[in-house]
Symmetry: C2
Subunit: 196 residues, 2 copies
């Protein structure tokens, strides 16, 4: 019974405690870099700590909120602007937000950073050479882009601007998704966003 009490208590206090310390973990990188995979592992680790969070996946948002948008530069900007605003709304609701989205332009990511507020935005660059991502091609998108079936594909005929000073830089050719997730959690601790 004592154990049960302390479990309830700590889960409850965690929820209350974190509602004032929300932040955004923003995964950026080209298609196939492994953003969503790493984000899912981080999500699980934070959930295990009882932290209230929401995972906003760029691909999924394009099926709902952002389904009116295509892949031109202007539409990509608008896509990321909305994801940034959405992140703030979830932060306001007391939730930590994980975003996995190509978000190729520095300007859009910087806007999202500004909306999250100083020291509350953790930019994770999931860095993969184009040839590696294209070799993986988990969704067959690179093949479609190369054959001309997809236009404005990041890395092929649309640019990707890597972050200049990301909080975390993952070289996905050297570390596993699980190691990458561990590094992100260590960074959250060192930034005092979560408790060790």
């Amino acid at each position: 019974m004592l154990l049960a009490v302390s479990q309830f208590e700590s889960a409850f206090l965690n929820m209350v405690g974190t509602s004032t310390a929300t932040f955004v973990i923003w995964f950026t990188g080209i298609s196939g870099a492994g953003k969503s995979t790493i984000a899912s592992i981080v999500e699980q680790q934070l959930r295990d700590r009882g932290l209230p969070l929401h995972n906003l996946d760029g691909d999924e948002l394009r099926l709902g909120l952002n389904r009116d948008l295509g892949f031109t530069d202007a539409d990509r900007r608008e896509n990321i602007r909305r994801v940034g605003e959405l992140s703030r709304l979830f932060n306001d609701a007391g939730m930590i937000v994980l975003v996995a989205a190509i978000s190729p332009f520095r300007e859009g990511r910087d806007m999202a950073r500004e909306l999250a507020g100083p020291n509350h935005f953790v930019e994770v660059h999931v860095d993969t050479p184009l040839e590696v991502a294209e070799e993986r091609d988990p969704k067959g998108l690179y093949q479609k882009a190369r054959s001309g079936q997809l236009q404005n594909f990041t890395g092929i005929d649309s640019p990707y601007e890597p972050p200049l000073h990301p909080e975390v830089h993952i070289d996905s050719t050297r570390v596993s998704a699980s190691e990458a997730a561990d590094e992100i959690v260590r960074t959250l601790i060192s930034l005092n966003l979560i408790i060790k």
Copy 2:
């Protein structure tokens, strides 16, 4: 100590319990009808029950997520489409959603209802005669619309389509905001969305 335990336990179970029973309370009506005021009272009553919720105010969203939109019919449709998608995202995150938005078109509200899922959408028509709302004119908007400074103003030069079968109909000339909130909470109970 026993009391403290049961408080933590019940707050925690409430949170967990409701994460599978989320819903949307959608306040519709012309400007000045009292949507936000009633929504705030309902919000407080649900918070007092320990329920996780988020209040999406249409006016506030127009300063952020929807700030690219104006008030033409097309923009109003897109505005409400996004609020509907947003509501679903918050529901998915385990939160009850309160929306206060003029949302003049039946089609948009019905789309939001569909996104929320059957029996998880509570449409509240805050019904106020135009002359009463115009007399109140809390934000001075009717005056601006009448003088031509504002175009496409609902009730003046843009239509409002009242709900045909709202879950709650509030005649704001006959009941106070607080009485209206009580009626909404009673409806939530009778719909088995919250426990008495």
